[in-house]
């Protein structure tokens, strides 16, 4: 069985393939899993029953981790010294950070491999415990489900059919093996007259006789039946959701249209854009790209669109690469544009600097009508981000045709509430500080339309109340960064401005998201534009019905702010006019050249990271950098009390969890005693009383073997109470109280046993009286026979609820043939 559970878990290993890059990540995991299962198998074979198996398994994992991950610094490559352990912990932390910081697939650094290997070792150990110790291999399915849900949740593109099938087959094989082992444990069992057991392989083991051929046929038929049933189960699980429209998901449809299966499935590879921004703060100013354009005032270059806010960070929904989203010259129309644009087409040729690390996402002006770049590129239809799954070449040259459709303030003023947007860009996490909402309401009180509200919000940020600082004071760890930025110190850089405005816009009912990329940069002498990492920027995009997504600029520009930032005309409010200059980007961008050198440190060049971040996961990381709305000093009052409800809820939750077994057990007992007191007593009542007695005995740490008849059980209990599982019945006990139960309880036990016996074996069971009273007497007698510790444990952790404590054939020599 240990090997069976190992095989089952190994079959599930390919599931993770889509999450990790690099071919060797599974090797340490494989070694660890084999070690865990091997320890279990050998130890159980040896019959040396001193230490619990999980302890040995943990030891094996610890010993293996050293040569696998810290072999170079350990003596002999094996011995775990303190230095090695510290190193391992560091590697583990790096791995965790990498995984936290990156969207799948992560690259297989040592840390990531260690994390995966440890997690799988733990899972294998758990599977071993469930399948072998607890003898309920069905529950291994829960572990597999957990394993399956990791790629499903993280990747969003579903599972490949091959790993999923392998996983299912492994699980079924484990179940089958368990059936087989169980069938053999008892030797020959007389087949039921009705032949209902005949189909189960292994359950019938009879000496060869004249009709052994018929039996073999039966076995073959049984195997065929089981296989068919299993195949049908797997098939149904996959196909039924397709039949039901409500269950039909994008994932399944994607699988159906053959792209994933046909092309082997592409998953977008990117690191977390926000992490990139943060890291770039420490980078020096450096040329990122140059471009040549026909436009007088080129727009910002957008790389990422972040549309999910978790309370602290803005993050990107994972994007999918499929044939349907492949860029074949033209890009899809942006959301919210009713018709194809009629405006003039502007051509821009962009050259990425050869020194710039690879970019998996292209920095593009919005809206790009066509993109012509070497290699395979995909466009996310919702955000129009353009990305690749291959590793993009450095020094890429590509051509973009853009259409400048810039609405006027008047046009925007007439727009109503957004209706046509797919996906909800107004979601906010629960638990935002109510003061933010109050602030938003106060700012937008006067505004009648979404547009006016947006303008009001932008003016709040650019009105001078906020200070632009690339190196803001850090936020106290207990403070809400958003509140701190908006209400406390009001110091930050573009991330905080953009993130905060997007949050407030969502609160004001305007769909909003955060875009990350570059400002237009600086014009060079030869007519080209140069963009440096100092031009990295983040800004909110707000959605207006009929106009689509529009850029706003809450970050202060010019010398006191982000140098090359510019405020779009349409966002200045209708009173300022500007209707006559569609497509122009305000003058601030002109100011930028001189400032550019001051800015380099401020905003990230997001594209640096894609392949690097994982390896560098060990960098110090703290709150202010981790979020768009991070900086500032937390208000102690708000921050100090904010944890209270959470902690309270957590405490209540933990408490509930602790008493849950007790509650369930009490419920069971209550329902049984109620059944006893109601109506006349018969066979069913006798069984009920007996079951309750059995469960209580188990709860109190006693033994209950199915080979013991009711009266034998009653005698044993009356003689020595519920003795611990390891004790000889009636033998000498150490520690726990070992008094026999009181005489009246012994009599009650006897009467219960006779009632049960009669209910089981008599031709017409009698109607025993006083079952309920007898049960209570017997139960209190059993309680009295054990110590207070056992009583407490019986209440809090009733063993009768655990399937592996249920009575089962006692192990021992006998007709076991394996």
């Amino acid at each position: 069985m240990p090997l069976g559970s190992l095989a089952c878990m190994l079959m599930a290993l390919p599931l993770l393939d889509s999450l990790v890059r690099g071919g060797t990540w599974w090797v340490p995991a494989f070694v660890m899993m084999v070690a865990v299962a091997g320890v279990s198998a050998l130890y159980r074979l040896s019959g040396w029953n001193v230490l619990p198996v999980p302890f040995l398994q943990a030891l094996a994992v610890a010993l293996l981790a050293t040569p696998l991950f810290a072999g170079h610094m350990a003596p002999l490559g094996l011995l775990p010294t303190e230095r090695v352990l510290v190193h391992l912990v560091t590697v583990f932390e790096q791995g965790m950070k990498t995984i936290d910081a990156s969207a799948p697939p992560v690259s297989s650094s040592a840390g990531v491999m260690l994390v995966i290997a440890l997690a799988l070792a733990v899972l294998t150990g758990a599977a071993d415990f469930l399948a072998v110790t607890a003898r309920c291999p069905g529950m291994v399915g829960g572990l597999l489900l957990a394993l399956v849900s990791v790629p499903v949740l993280l990747d969003g593109s579903g599972l490949d059919w091959l790993p999923a099938t392998a996983c299912a087959v492994g699980f079924l094989a484990l179940l089958a093996m368990d059936m087989w082992v169980r069938g053999h444990e008892w030797g020959a069992r007389v087949p039921d007259e009705r032949g209902s057991r005949a189909g189960t392989p292994g359950s019938v083991r009879v000496p060869d006789g004249p009709d052994s051929r018929a039996r073999k046929l039966g076995a073959v038929r049984g195997v065929a039946t089981v296989s068919l049933a299993s195949a049908a189960a797997v098939l149904l699980a996959v196909t039924v959701p397709l039949m039901l429209p409500s269950l039909r998901t994008d994932t399944l449809r994607t699988m159906l249209d053959g792209t994933r299966i046909g092309t082997g499935g592409n998953h977008i590879t990117t690191t977390h854009p926000l992490v990139s921004l943060r890291r770039d703060l420490s980078f020096s100013d450096r040329r990122v790209l140059t471009y040549r354009t026909d436009a007088e005032q080129p727009p910002y270059l957008r790389t990422y669109v972040l549309d999910e806010f978790d309370g602290v960070n803005w993050t990107m929904t994972p994007v999918n690469a499929s044939i349907g989203t492949r860029v074949d010259g033209e890009l899809p129309l942006p959301t919210g544009w009713g018709s194809a644009p009629s405006e003039d087409v502007v051509t821009t040729r962009i050259s990425l600097d050869s020194e710039t690390p690879r970019m998996d996402f292209l920095p593009l002006p919005y809206w790009a009508r066509t993109v012509r770049a070497p290699g395979e590129w995909y466009a996310d239809p919702r955000s129009l981000m353009v990305f690749t799954t291959d590793s993009a070449p450095t020094g890429l040259n590509f051509t973009v045709e853009t259409v400048d459709r810039v609405p006027t303030a008047e046009e925007l003023a007439d727009t109503g509430n957004p209706r046509s947007l797919p996906g909800d860009y107004r979601n906010l996490p629960n638990g935002l500080d109510p003061r933010v909402r109050e602030l938003t309401d106060a700012l937008t009180e006067e505004a009648r339309t979404p547009y006016e509200r947006a303008v009001a919000l932008q003016e709040y940020f650019t009105g001078g109340a906020f200070t632009y600082d690339l190196d803001p004071p850090s936020v106290p760890s207990d403070a809400d960064p958003l509140v701190h930025f908006l209400l406390e110190d009001r110091v930050g850089y573009c991330e905080q401005f953009a993130g905060a405005m997007a949050v407030m816009a969502r609160q004001a009912g305007i769909p909003a998201r955060v875009a990350v990329g570059y400002t237009a940069g600086e014009r060079m002498g030869d007519g080209r534009w140069a963009v440096s990492s100092g031009d990295a920027h983040a800004w909110p995009e707000l959605y207006f019905e009929g106009a689509g997504w529009l850029r706003f600029e809450p970050t202060p520009a010019a010398a006191d702010g982000q140098g090359s930032a510019s405020v779009p005309d349409y966002s200045r409010g209708s009173e300022e006019g500007g209707a006559d200059s569609p497509g122009t980007v305000p003058e601030e961008s002109e100011l930028s050249p001189d400032e550019a050198s001051e800015d380099p440190r401020e905003d990230g060049a997001p594209e640096e990271e894609p392949s690097q971040a994982p390896e560098e996961g060990g960098e110090p990381e703290d709150e202010p950098t981790s979020s768009v709305a991070a900086p500032g000093d937390g208000s102690p009052t708000a921050g100090g009390l904010a944890w209270l409800p959470v902690a309270g809820a957590a405490a209540v939750g933990v408490l509930l969890l602790l008493v849950l077994p007790a509650l369930v057990r009490a419920l069971v007992r209550w329902s049984r005693t109620t059944a006893l007191s109601a109506g006349t007593a018969g066979a069913a009542e006798a069984h009920t009383a007996w079951r309750e007695l059995r469960d209580t005995c188990l709860d109190l740490g006693g033994t209950w073997t199915p080979a013991e008849s009711p009266r034998a059980t009653a005698e044993r209990l009356a003689r020595s109470g519920p003795s611990p599982a390891t004790a000889e019945p009636g033998g000498l006990m150490s520690g726990a109280a070992r008094e026999p139960v009181p005489p009246e309880a012994a009599e009650a036990l006897w009467r219960l046993a006779l009632a049960e016996e009669s209910a089981r074996y008599a031709p017409s069971p009698g109607s025993p009286e006083g079952l309920r009273e007898d049960l209570w007497t017997a139960l209190s007698g059993l309680d009295a026979a054990v110590g207070p510790g056992a009583r407490l444990r019986a209440v809090l952790l009733p063993r009768s609820l655990a399937p592996w404590h249920r009575p089962r054939p006692a192990p021992g020599p006998g007709p076991v043939t394996l």
Partner: protein, 330 residues
Amino acid sequence: MSLGTHHGGHGGGVQEDVGEIVAVADRVRGAIETVIEGKPEVLRLALTVLLAEGHLLIEDVPGVGKTMLAKALGRAVDCSVQRVQFTPDLLPSDITGVSVYHQDRREFEFNPGPVFANIVLGDEINRASPKTQAALLECMAERQVSVDGQTRALERPFMVVATQNPADMEGTYALPEAQRDRFMARVSVGYPAPQAELDMIDSHSSRSPLDDLAPVTSAAQIRDLADRVHSVHVAPGMRRYVVDLVNATRTSPELRLGASPRATLHLVRAARAYAALDGRHYVVPDDVQALAVPVLAHRLLPGPEAQMERLSPEQIVAKLVARLPVPGPQ
């Protein structure tokens, strides 16, 4: 433990039958206990076999009261008792009887042998030659005697109580498996407890207490009770339990020879009688468990491994019993 609360609401008939069995059994038991003290389990087993119409094999070292037990049983029931002392020169006809030619009447007349009795004591049965043993054992199985082409049925109740010394004693012919299989149960008397032995000195010093033993029941009554034992209920689960147990002896790697189907029948019949003796009209697992060793063990041959580990068939059967789950609720 016997707190004496007997259950079962099955209507009158069966319950009364069972009650009479208990009453009669108690009388017989009381009578025999005046002769053999401190062996209630052995007595109970002997009564069980009597009511189940089986044959009993008493195996033990000499002098522990094997013959005394058999004699007391025969004396307590008012029926014909014959005793055969098996010796190496005993002939089959000495058991079954012979046809003697009468000169005056000019015909053969059958002189029935000692086997024509209700209770036959076969003393030291393993001292006779196999041929003679076989003659007795044939009568045991078929409950009839065939001599000179004539078949004569034996009267009910017919019970052979054979005693034998352990197989390794001098001058013995061990009973072959096929013949051991005909005995329903084998029992060892065992040495008496010290107190019982002390009492024995007093009671046996002057005269044999067997002389004072008066019959407490009749052959007709035993016949009647044996009929009633057949009506004791064996639940379907219990039948399976018995079959599973017997099957386990056949598949156990520790046993070279398992129990026969005849053993299954014997076990069920004995369990019925055992239950009736307990005042129950249905069989419970405890009956089967208590009888498993006496009924099954003498039919089994341990395998080589068990012999190396010095595991006796009794121990193996006890282990099987301890592992086999009892039938649960239907």
